[in-house]
Symmetry: D3
Subunit: 330 residues, 6 copies
């Protein structure tokens, strides 16, 4: 399949060896973003993947696009302009100490300052699906306009629209009911949605009957969400204590994978590993139970590799599903 994603690219900077910033004198850096990460996973699973974004027109932007290509993502629709990029510092924790993420100024980035006129919708021609993310809705009115324009253009071309709710209240400067309205609009245009219990209950204010089990509550609210917004499939994950399971909801059904024990080497981007697996399973028409197991395994393994972008081939994921964790492969 040919899949495009519209999304922000940020620069992640991490002190080595679990040091804090104050203790460090070097930083490991990479470029990351929800759309970019999902595309990286999809490339590994055999899809043609394209990122639409806007990068600063200087050496930082060039370095970002080089890494994007390196991951197997096509750079044909990367636009250059402005001179800033969002940066976050990741001070990796270990054991009892939590990881700490610190954002620098993001609003002034080339991407967050971009307008509809900075892009060319022809980049959607001939593609099968568009991936967008809730974070792009939050930053500013004009960026949200770009997202909505891309979604409408995708629908016009008969593409599947994939929307990752990714709701972070701290990024929004609007009132609750305005945000709900915005999400409702985009959900009603989306075919595949990544969402969780809180998105349904807190953001969309769907209430579950009190007497249900947690699983039945989840099923109730997500199925209602499917129906209310005409969503084909909702995907998401449940984190247990050191486990991950995935679910897949249609308006008539919910399939949950058995939980897989989670081992964490690099936490950030684990969710994008799940999303790539789910989208791949969807487009390769896996059986639901196989699909959700595959997507969960993809998410679990994405926690074991350096960086935010999933980089394991689908054969590695299949092997893990079949044989579990092993020692050494020769």
């Amino acid at each position: 399949m040919k899949i495009v994603a519209f999304g922000e690219v940020m620069m992640r900077m991490m002190p080595p060896h679990y040091k804090t910033l104050t203790q460090a004198h070097t930083l490991e850096f990479l470029f990351t973003g929800t759309g970019m990460n999902v595309l990286s996973g999809l490339y590994q699973m055999g899809h043609e993947s394209y990122l639409i974004t806007r990068l600063p027109d200087h050496s930082v932007g060039k370095a970002a696009s080089a890494q994007i290509r390196q991951l197997g993502i096509k750079d044909d629709y990367i636009y250059y302009g402005g001179n800033h990029i969002g940066i976050y510092f990741l001070e990796q924790g270990i054991g009892n100490r939590a990881s700490q993420i610190t954002y620098l100024n993001r609003e002034e980035s080339s991407f967050c300052q971009s307008q509809v006129s900075d892009y060319d919708f022809a980049c959607l021609d001939g593609k099968d699906a568009l991936h967008v993310c809730g974070i792009s809705l939050a930053i500013s009115d004009h960026l949200r306009d770009v997202v909505m324009a891309f979604v409408l253009e995708a629908k016009k071309r008969g593409m599947k629209v994939i929307f990752d709710c990714n709701f972070r209240s701290s990024l929004w400067s609007k009132e609750q009911n305005q945000i709900k309205e915005i999400y409702e609009k985009i959900l009603s245009l989306s075919d595949i949605v990544f969402a969780g219990y809180k998105d349904a209950t807190l953001l969309l204010q769907i209430d579950a009957p009190l007497n249900l089990s947690d699983e039945d509550k989840l099923k109730y609210v997500l199925q209602k969400m499917c129906k209310d917004y005409h969503i084909e499939t909702i995907f998401g994950t449940i984190r247990g204590e050191n486990t991950l399971s995935g679910y897949m909801v249609h308006d008539s059904d919910m399939i949950i994978s058995p939980p897989i024990k989670l081992t964490v080497y690099d936490r950030v981007g684990g969710g994008d590993g799940f999303a790539a697996g789910a989208i791949h399973g969807y487009f390769s028409k896996m059986e639901p139970y196989e699909l959700i197991r595959y997507a969960t395994a993809s998410g679990v393994l994405a926690h074991t590799t350096y960086g935010d972008s999933p980089i394991l081939a689908k054969e590695v994921i299949q092997d893990f599903l079949e044989h579990g964790t092993s020692d050494i492969k020769r």
Copy 2:
């Protein structure tokens, strides 16, 4: 509060990546010492902290004082002279393999060779507390004279004297009863003491009734120690299998914190993290139970950061106490 510590600064050198010295070609180095570590923790908790020490009068001494300042400790009372510094190599173990510490010649260091005449007691003026450590008592007679002189000058000024027993028999070349005498003298001048069961029983020869539980034995001997030497408070920790708890003893009472699961990234200096937390709790007049929980959390978190010196802000410790271990903080 304004807190000064008199203590040795050593240079710690560690092969990277759990290699042994024979396998390594580079060393990560830092400067460390009980007093310096406790002050580093106290700076993070909002106190003005000063180190009194003597460093070699060349680039190694300059590098040490730069790192001391970097940690937030004032270098106003660092004296320069001599040309040697104590060095220890830390070959970090992992899993079944223990860490190995190898000391090079320490006795000839600028600090261990220092005399009363190398210091100026005016540095105590206007300060609230003095921290000294049992290791400085062991090295040589003339260094012990310096410690005692500082302690007496501190008492003269009405400062609190904080004494960390830190008894290591391998450092002493005296007979048991001579050592006991020395410890008794300094304990009777101390307000706050860091000590454990063995210090009381082996060093000071306080026996606990045989029929008591371990906890009651501990309480018995430390309360006796409080009474015998007029100590206001004794602090210490108990290491379980993978857990740490802290205690606080007055002549009338002993409070023990619930054990916290211990995760270890860098073992050395964990005790100094506890000490910093306890001293901070004491001077900020925390309730006993709150105090001992805070100190224990400070000790536990000090095991999760690179280096011997505690470097986490008190907000991080509070957050850990309230919410336990978490994943990522944004």
Copy 3:
């Protein structure tokens, strides 16, 4: 002497081993700024140095202040607020390939967004001199207001005002005559000024008689500048091909140092090394010729050390002046 500087702190990030950003995966970072660099040099020369600045109130700001202290600069007057810091990437060139500096968004930094109300002028009490820099004049109207307020408060307290012209037209969004007016105002309040030929001719529009030699032209315009703005001393450097010489101008005189062969390891901050040397020479009342030779040597040696901040002790500079370049010192 007690010297304070008001100035921006930026984060410098450099790919290792002369790689370009696209080739790199790690960055060496440090904190830098004209004021900070000059103070670092002055600390090495025996002065008490204080930085007034505003840093982001998160781990990046904490890391900056730790490095500031490490350099020997007092952090008593560092204010925290906002969440952004200016960043520049330095892709170090070698041989035929020039170094490339790329700035990210600087205007939104905690410093550049700061207001008079963010500072407390009491920090000037009891100090001997204030250092400010032309870059702070350029960023915004409100930041320029802060600079002017500090300068006026310093004059009120009888402090020497040191002004580094540091005119970079790319940073200004004003018309030429407006800029000239601003510079004239601050020059007339300054005692010691760092300025060059272009500052006098292009910015202040002082013309030199055409028939003079280059050196006499320089002398003419800078002496006129001294007179016009009642400046006590103007310092500056002349770059030959692989050499550096320094000058010192009073309204009656100009002293030029013999050129010193320049060897470059880390180019950025060389000028601040000269400035630190000149200010030290001024306050320690060196003879003019000795002063300008010392300042030039300080500038030359600052090109041979890693980082922007001068870090060599005045003994090293003196030794270089006396014995020239040598092989190994034991």
Copy 4:
């Protein structure tokens, strides 16, 4: 232009910091090859570039293609099979000590073992030029068959054939006249050729009149070469002591660039930088003198960057041509 290259990709491994292999414990690695390097340069100059090669079908091959994409080269025509790749170790010299290159087994590599049947000539459709290299002629009979097949297919499609003589006698196990025959065959099919004096005289046995100057001898033999084999243009470089100049020969003319002072940071691949510049100049129809100056500058700057592949944008080359070496660009 759309340019394809058929060529080997090798793995280069280099001990850091000018160490010898015996002193090293880590290696910096990258992937390299004449075709790949030339395409990397052409990408920087705005061309669409495609590499045809065969890589091992395992993680080393995947790592190679990721770096190829990172450099801006399209990986559409990379074929996977076999399990070996040529490796060379580069022990970088400095000053009086020469760099030392050590090759491991190259003949068994996926590329050198490849056959015509491993490729699909459709990859040439719609492209403007094909680049091949003399090294591929030397390894084995079957690999030479592949080269010849590609060249013939390119001619069939009206593409320009670019041939880099790259004659290394150590790679050949044939007799001199057999090698000559092979070269003559491919030269007569080539439009643009990279060749030097020795190629003409030693390999092709063209003799220059004895009484000519060195430059006239070069002109004589290369013009004869143009005529004999119907070559449109021959390019090459002359290394002086610490200088480089380039030349461009037609059957009627030879243009030589003025020598440019050479500064070397990473020696390998400098010739490919010249080649990329020359090909770009050719296809963008630069004036001969401008072209050869540009190509030489491109070669000179390729000596100043890490790695074998040219990675500087054409703007950087232009700027160097116009302003010479400079200090820092902001």
Copy 5:
């Protein structure tokens, strides 16, 4: 004792920090091989150890022999010739992700291409034991001839022959019964053999009675193996989930060590740690139970050190046996 091993030396290359090859730009390298690893362990236990091998006659071979010496192994019998060495890439896994080993061309290495005439059997004179490994039997007929010749020469000299079965079917291009015949021949010449259940059942087709427990089956087949081929002792390990135990079989007995909890830092070479321990125990005439516990502890600790070669002194192993895992040794 004086122990020689005949075996291959390979080059191991590993991306740092659990990165995949595609993510890496540096590789940590070392030299390794079953014989070399066993000798490294034996050196630590006080034996004189000599490696017989053939290395490429260039800087890679020189680097290998330097590391061999560094480990305490004598290089007197290293022969140089050819120009290739076997290489494997180790992409270290973590948690759920398995480590991945990728071999490059090994058959063309200086060792695997070596012939009887490349060696001098005089190197066996005066030695006590010879160690050979099943991998050397698999590569080629001529290499197998070398192994057999060494074994026969060792027997002639009354040396103990130690054979590590190390059967890896992927390395063989022969039929099952041919391989069996080869193994039978060498087993009948061996005194000490490292073998497991699969070697006995699959390779040698010894069947155990069905009604036995797993342990009794193991005992049955290995004792039969001892009898059939006149082997003095067979050693081997059993991996439980996160544990390791070792066994030692004579024709009359089998001793199994209690399982020790396994913690893994660097997995490769763990078996060689066990082998070194067993051989040391054998030659120092330890009691069987003590021997097998020591060998197992040696194997367990070999999992905790960087690299394939065991590098811990026998005192460290003894200490671990006596006191279990500890924290820090001072």
Copy 6:
């Protein structure tokens, strides 16, 4: 030849990338010493080389002997005892900035504290030459006794005695005439001596006639030294500005090599490279002019490799002598 050296092994620690200690957080370390360095060079030239020294009996001593073996030096005569080793910090300078060497306490090292009874003179049996160094004479009376004992034992066995004057006044706490006496004693027992003009004039107080040229003065004093102390050959080097030449003096002759341009990557140990070359030339009976050219080339190349110990094969030195500096060797 079989050559033994008696000498100290120190630990050298160097901040990376020309940083000062204050700027560094890691150190590159290695082991070094005059004797060890000369032996390392002699191993490269084909000689059997043995170091006699005393190292601390812990992991630092083990690491030192591992590196000694790695360099090709036999460790048969390394004795273990004590727990300290001499350390020096090398802050590498660049350009105008000199390198700075800082010694920590050296007197208490296992070597400097060693006594005659710590060694076994049987280690000299069957060897051809003994190398000792003037530094060992300076440290203490008892160490000097060891040196003298070894020299006398060597003479007894008919070995050549090689003495490197290496006079550093800062290491001596004796009066000038006492030092002279000590040197005279050892010189009269030496066959080959490394000495310079200052050794002859300042230390031994040999005066040259005033009217001679510098070269003739050198010849005069060294020939007199040969005669006075019955020395067979004196070797030494003359440093010009960026050049090195070597000389060789008999009582009848002096041969000086043409100066070779010096390029410096790692300065320390350059003299030991010359010494190794001279000793090799001497024992392989090179013609005087060839010998001194070879020794000088060896010294020059030792300045271009990392570390103090010469590590280039004699073929590399020969190639440099024949072809001068070249670019790349393949």
